[in-house]
Amino acid sequence: MTEQAIIAGCLHNDSAAQRELYNRFSPKMLSVCYRFAQSREDAEDMLQEGFIKVFTQIHTFQNKGAFEGWIRRIVVHTCINFLKKNKKFNERVDLDYATMVEVREETIPSIMQARQIIECIRLLPIGYRTVLNLYAMEGYSHKEIGMMLDIEESTSRSQYTRAKSMLETILVKKKIIEMPKEDFHWLAAFKK
């Protein structure tokens, strides 16, 4: 079924088209939700709300840009609203606590590293994690992030810096990446 056929079917509330759309995009979107959520259950709740919005607002899709990108934006906004609604932004976790958490083993070797990285991202405090996801993964600007999270743009920048540093430390400790060489590190270049 082509993407246009899916969209046309969903506009007519065709359950087969809706099912096809869901089957095609839900695995990626659940991965997105999982990076924002505290647990798998929260992630599935976010996914469920996101797709309901997709199906009810599909008539607003104007065929400008990729359909997947449009769905992703709806899902991301749904995740943010879910976190706001459940007041998840007040947690504080320091770096040492983050490094003590074990990352779960992945059963499928081909995606082990990706899953481990996601688990490392989920070790971050929720505020750091959200800003990191929005900036590094979803491509939002700090200004847009500030508007979405009701924070200042400068706060978004500082939180992102701290998140990236924390994540880097976790990834190194988990031996997923090597310690970056100082001459390629932007701070090292600045210091020089």
Partner: protein, 486 residues
């Protein structure tokens, strides 16, 4: 977004590794989404089972345990009523009255009395309806046997002669000529009658000198009431045309698959575009899949209406549980199961995910495809042989059927996987049932036992799905029928 043009190494690393990562959601997520969008149209099977049982019990209680009503044949009697009480064929009114009243109250009732009663009856009482002959016989039978009928008498304003006899009985010393009809001392309407009777009695010569008062029994009152044209109610038990039946049919379900559309449309199209479905599968789908029948159950209640001595119309409510087993293999991971649908736009492929493989996998497993259906059978029952106790009948019915299931296992169109096909399940279907029964009549009911075949006419799944499944049940029906009485 400002960072689209610049990413450092870490961001690029994260983006490359994580962006294409997938996590497959649980089944309940889609179910919740579907329910939110389309509502919950399915009938909760448990609630419907409970409603069905309650309805059946309530209906049977009302129909079977309702107090029996006896057909009333009211016989209104005029002067001809007296003929029915005579044992002989002579229907002269006076002889009947004389015989009867003489028997009941010998010594008190004279010919003059009867004449006076007859004259008053004609003058003052409304003319009753003529009673058919059968009623007269019934009355005669009832009067003599005192078993099948109860006779109730309605009295009119006039006090019957029996009461006058009763009054006379209170005074044993009175003679017939002077005291038999002594007027009662209370102010009832019949005082004038009693007085007039007494006066007429005095005028007429006394034909009897007996002074003893005959015993006045209940029959005396009732019998004398006949002289005043009372209605007589005959109670007679009759069977109605309607019967109620409960039945239970353990059965075995078989399935047959046809893949004509798959070979004619799907496979040629997939060969042309080299999609994952492209394979030349010339073998019959029934040879590719492995399934075996399982025991199911049918139960219900029906109402039968006798259209004639042999032919009955039958309808009711019925529940069917049909199931068969599918032998598959299960893998630890889910693979893509492609379902190709044929609609007006052509062929559309829908991808589902399933760990169940038709041909190979980590471990053998057995799937249970169970269907819960409710139907309203409409049919006829023909009595082939109907003896005093034993009989043979045959029945046939058409059964509009509604399927209650949400989930069934569906074969993918590449014949390799089994996935959840609940979305493609046909909710409404039509079944036909035929059977032949051996019956045995007991005092209260008829028990029947016999084989039955039930065939599903429309495919189990939607017309969009190219592989057609038809179900056939063989069962042994046990039923009990009770004819209702009016």
């Amino acid at each position: 977004m400002e960072n689209q043009n610049y990413r450092d190494e870490l961001e690029q690393f994260l983006h490359d590794e994580v962006k294409q990562h997938r996590i497959y959601p649980s089944d309940h997520v889609w179910k919740n989404i579907r329910t939110e969008l389309h509502g919950n149209h399915s009938w909760p099977a448990l609630s419907f089972f409970a409603l069905f049982i309650i309805t059946a019990l309530t209906l049977s209680t009302l129909l079977i345990n309702h107090p029996a009503r006896f057909a009333a044949h009211t016989l209104l009697v005029n002067g001809q009523m007296k003929n029915n009480l005579a044992a002989s064929a002579d229907h002269t009114t006076r002889s009947v009255q004389e015989n009867y009243f003489t028997q009941m109250a010998s010594g008190h009732v004279t010919a003059a009395t009867l004449e006076e009663l007859a004259s008053r009856q004609t003058a003052t009482l409304p003319q009753p309806e003529t009673v058919p002959t059968v009623g007269y016989d019934a009355v005669a039978t009832a009067a003599t046997e005192k078993t099948m009928a109860t006779i109730t008498a309605k009295t009119t304003n006039l006090k019957p002669a029996a009461s006058l006899i009763t009054s006379a009985q209170s005074n044993k010393t009175r003679s017939l000529s002077t005291s038999s009809f002594t007027a009662p001392t209370d102010n009832r309407q019949d005082v004038d009658t009693a007085n007039s009777l007494a006066a007429s009695e005095k005028a007429a010569p006394a034909t009897t000198t007996e002074t003893t008062t005959p015993p006045v029994t209940e029959n005396t009152h009732k019998a004398s009431a006949y002289a005043y044209n009372p209605p007589v109610v005959i109670n007679q038990k009759r069977n109605s045309r309607v019967g109620i039946q409960f039945y239970l049919t353990p059965s075995t379900s078989y399935r047959k698959l046809t893949d004509e559309k798959l070979k004619e449309i799907i496979q040629p199209a997939s060969n042309a575009v080299n999609t994952p479905l492209s394979q030349n599968n010339s073998s019959d789908v029934n040879q590719v899949v492995r399934h075996k029948p399982a025991i199911g159950l049918e139960f219900g209640f029906a109402v039968l209406y006798n259209m004639s001595n042999r032919l009955k119309f039958k309808t009711g409510v019925q529940m069917n549980i049909r199931q068969y087993y599918i032998e598959t293999f299960q893998s630890p991971t889910s693979d893509v199961a492609t379902i190709s649908l044929i609609n007006y736009r052509g062929i559309e492929n829908i991808n589902l995910y399933s760990p169940y493989h038709n041909n190979s996998g980590l471990s053998a497993t057995q799937l249970d495809n169970k269907l819960y259906q409710v139907s309203i059978p409409l049919g006829i029952q023909w009595e082939i042989f109907n003896g005093n106790h034993w009989g043979v009948n045959t029945e046939a019915s058409v059964q509009p059927t509604f399927t209650l299931n949400k989930k069934v296992y569906l074969l993918s169109t590449d014949l390799k996987h089994y996935a959840d096909g609940g979305s493609f399940l046909r909710k409404w279907n039509v079944n036909t049932g035929v059977g032949i029964n051996l019956t045995y009549k007991t005092r209260g009911a008829t028990i029947q036992l016999g084989p039955q075949i039930r065939y599903q006419h429309l495919p189990t799944y939607s017309n969009l799905y190219p592989i057609k499944e038809y179900l056939l049940d063989y069962g042994l029906r046990l039923g009990i029928t009770k004819q209702l009485s009016k």
